[in-house]
């Protein structure tokens, strides 16, 4: 055998081995980690109930429904719109495993972009997931996903993404961003179909308030903030005041009219729901971060962000304490409690009363794992 043939065989074997090792990891990422059904969940249905076109696709996702003991208003919580923003997803998980409804109906979609949980963003070096230790000593694992739909499910991206309803153009990779595809359409991409399903659900169930939970990098101007559609402003203002009473500082931003495709704009325009979006500070998705690993996603401590803070480059305070997952989830959950309260005050004939949500201080003291249920 000639020398270059031997080299070719060796390189081919090495490449094959690398493909097998990486392939196993990628396939592993598609496994869906369980969420334990809590005492308040009355029904679990698929999003395809509202748009059958999603049935059997990677975009079809679980919708957890909590019917209250008494009638009232309704509220939708979207977690996992961006699966690389753990506090949005984990807040939804804690709701599912702990919340009960005294009145009204709560809808929770923990994996709004279901496909996005099945992969990581290339060149971001993200961890595959993160672990929590529970009170009984067992552990739970959750996946750290991507900002966008998996290209296995929707590919290729166009050079330029054109938002169907407005003609607005964005970078081509935004085609797979769920929070740029609303209100969605039936003859669009898989991501747009998922958006359409969520919009249809809001319309069919006449959901009064829709809250989309997100995280942002600390250098991003809209952070630790609520972004509200103009019709949602009165309720959102009450929430800001309510949180201030609990010493949680949060900003309030109007939904820009010229930035299309996002929940706080399109759901508010296309349906009667009051649409809001919330952001917490997540250094593991930022551009200024140091080493990227599970600890960064959970503890939110980063030396380079401290340096950036000293340079005045951030829009959120950042010191040695970082921004732990308990702080970020605590902010989201506290705001959700305030939203329920504000909706009940604004619309007293349609109360929304949620119980069982861990309070901000409790989460900081006991840790998030204390509020996760052990797997059976």
């Amino acid at each position: 055998m000639q020398k270059h043939h031997i080299s070719a065989v060796i390189i081919s074997i090495l490449m094959l081995a690398a493909c097998v090792v990486a392939g196993v990891t990628f396939l592993e990422h598609r496994k869906v980690e369980p969420i334990v059904r809590g005492p308040g969940v009355t029904e679990i249905v698929k999003l395809s109930k509202w748009y059958p076109g999603l049935e059997g696709t990677a975009a079809d996702t679980d919708v957890y429904i909590f019917k209250g003991e008494a009638p009232g208003g309704s509220m939708l919580v979207l977690g996992g719109t961006h699966p690389n923003e753990p506090s949005g997803f984990l807040s939804a998980v804690l709701l599912i495993e702990n919340a009960t409804m005294a009145s009204g109906t709560l809808y929770v979609i923990p994996r709004a972009n279901n496909s996005g949980f099945s992969h990581n963003d290339p060149q971001e070096g993200a961890p595959t997931g993160y672990h929590f230790t529970l009170s009984d000593g067992s552990t739970r694992f959750f996946r750290y996903g991507s900002r966008a739909t998996n290209p296995i499910h929707q590919w290729p991206d166009p050079d330029v993404y054109v938002h169907a309803a407005s003609g607005q153009t964005l970078s081509g990779n935004e085609t797979r961003n769920l929070n740029r595809g609303y209100p969605g359409r039936t003859d669009g991409t898989l991501t747009e179909k998922a958006c359409y399903g969520i919009t249809q659900m809001i319309l069919a169930e006449k959901i009064g308030l829709s809250v989309d939970l997100h995280e942002a990098s600390p250098e991003y101007p809209v952070i630790n903030a609520i972004v509200a559609h103009e019709r949602a402003m009165p309720v959102a203002s009450q929430v800001v005041l309510g949180l201030e009473f609990s010493d949680i500082t949060i900003g309030l931003e109007p939904s820009p009219k010229n930035l299309r495709g996002l929940t706080h704009r399109e759901l508010g325009d296309a349906t009667d729901t009051l649409a809001v979006l919330m952001e917490t500070a997540n250094p593991s998705q930022g551009r200024l971060r140091g080493r990227t690993d599970e600890a960064l996603a959970l503890e939110g401590k980063d030396l380079y962000y401290i340096k950036a803070q000293q340079l005045g480059r951030l829009y959120v305070p950042f010191d040695e304490k970082g921004h732990s997952i308990e702080e970020r989830v605590g902010r989201h959950l506290s705001a959700l409690i305030e939203f329920a309260f504000a909706m009940s005050s604004e619309y007293p004939d349609q109360p929304i009363e949620i119980n069982g949500i861990p309070a901000y201080d409790e989460l900081q003291q006991a840790g998030l794992g204390a509020y996760l249920r052990p797997l059976q």
Binding site: G125, Q168, L170, E174, N258, L288, G290, Y304
Partner: protein
């Protein structure tokens, strides 16, 4: 000394040793540097990261490979020679008009696709032989189409670096047309004239005719140009009616290549495709290596170290930091530089007009396509004009790059005044 700095030095050191001392290909040197980064940072072999990093360039790799097949097919069919004849016959007596026009022709695919490689490998490959016939030295012809590549990539209607930078602060790609035209068209005209005018004499058809292969054009006529026209039309339709024609560049190029089989001289498609991919393979390998390198830099914190240090300069030095770090980081990827450095710098310049500033930053980011080791635009330009060492092309790109930097910085400094003009 921060650990990330030591890691960075280790990765760059391994790359330099592999590329220059052991003389491994650039792609394998990037792989070795990435593995070194993984090992030193305690991430083991991290095979998942090596593979995942390369996936960031799958689409780019497909575009380049199919563009090369298309160009080889068009060349084999005789269409390139025929096009040279048509252009020279028509414009031989007015070089001052011919040169900027050729620059715009070479920029066109980049304007439509947002890819400098698409420009250089398609229209660049058409324009370069004409420039050489008109008297430009081969390396200068390469520099001409390389510049057309990056200016086309930045010129409207499609500018992906600007979209990436804007996307980082939720700014839609709206209102960019005029600043991008102002940023790209004046330099394009100036560079076309400066590079070519003194070489382009008034060409006599009788002098040139013997050098041209006229038989193919005589035999097949304008039908030779059908593949080029179809691809150009599909590119435009892909943008104007994406619902029906948004098929993506790779498929457009393959359709063009298939048409070339029937438009002119007969050729063996398998041999042509194999030769085209063999030509592109070193660059495709570099892209895969760069993907791994970026992933490991991000994973280990080297990226954060670089970005935060770039932002650490005093405000007066901010412009210097922009001028130095964005093109340097562009050595690994101009799109990567747009995202990793373009967004933080735009945030650091929030007091400026955001559209003009983002547009100018995108122009600076495009210079990454001239920066070794990837230097996509320069490498492809050298390949198109038939030069083995792309450094010969690069030599003629240094001064234009400085001019482009200065031009873009002026736009940033006076962004509000420029925005007030329109």
């Amino acid at each position: 000394m921060p650990f990330e700095f030591i890691l960075f030095i280790a990765m760059v050191g391994v790359f330099v040793v592999c590329a220059f001392a052991i003389k491994l290909p650039v792609s394998l040197s990037m792989l070795a540097a990435s593995v070194a980064g993984l090992l030193v940072s305690g991430n083991g072999l991290g095979i998942r990261h090596l593979v995942e990093g390369t996936f960031g360039y799958v689409d780019t790799i497909l575009v380049i490979a199919t563009a090369m097949i298309f160009m080889r097919a068009v060349q084999e069919s005789g269409a390139l020679d025929a096009l040279n004849i048509v252009i020279i016959k028509r414009f031989k007596s007015i070089p001052a008009l011919l040169l900027p026009m050729l620059m715009l022709v070479a920029m066109f695919p980049g304007m439509i696709t947002g890819s400098s490689s698409a420009s250089v490998l398609t229209a660049g490959a058409v324009v370069a032989p004409v420039l050489i016939l008109l008297g430009l030295p081969v390396a200068k012809a390469g520099a001409f189409i390389a510049l057309a590549g990056i200016l086309g990539m930045i010129a409207p209607p499609v500018n992906i670096p600007a979209m990436i930078i804007g996307g980082g602060i939720d700014m839609p790609f709206v209102g960019f047309e005029l600043p991008l035209l102002l940023l790209t068209i004046p330099p394009a005209i100036v560079f076309a004239l400066v590079l070519g005018l003194k070489h382009v004499k008034k060409v006599s058809w009788e002098e040139i005719a013997p050098k041209l292969e006229v038989e193919t054009y005589k035999r097949y006529g304008p039908r030779l140009f059908i593949p080029i026209l179809v691809v150009a039309t599909l590119m435009v339709l892909g943008k104007t009616v994406p619902k029906y024609f948004g098929m993506g560049l790779p498929l457009m190029f393959l359709i063009g290549a298939a048409l070339a089989l029937f438009a002119g001289k007969r050729f063996n498609p398998l041999v042509a495709a194999k030769a085209a991919v063999a030509d592109a393979l070193p660059v495709l390998g570099i892209l895969a290596g760069v993907g791994m390198f970026i992933q490991v830099m991000t994973l280990t914190g080297v990226r954060g170290f670089i970005v935060v240090n770039a932002l650490s300069v005093p405000p007066v030095m901010l412009y210097v930091a922009i001028a130095v770090t964005i093109p340097l980081f562009g050595a690994v990827s101009s799109f990567g530089a747009s995202s990793v450095l373009g967004v933080p710098f735009l945030l650091a310049l929030l007091g400026k007009n955001q559209i003009v500033t983002a547009a100018a930053l995108s122009l600076i980011a495009s210079l990454g396509d001239f920066m070794p080791p990837t230097a996509l635009s320069a490498i492809f330009a050298a390949q198109v004009v038939g030069i083995k060492k792309y450094s010969k092309v690069l030599k003629y790109l240094i001064i234009p790059s400085i001019v482009i930097l200065a031009w873009a910085l002026v736009f940033i400094a006076y962004s509000k005044q420029i925005a007030a003009l329109y």
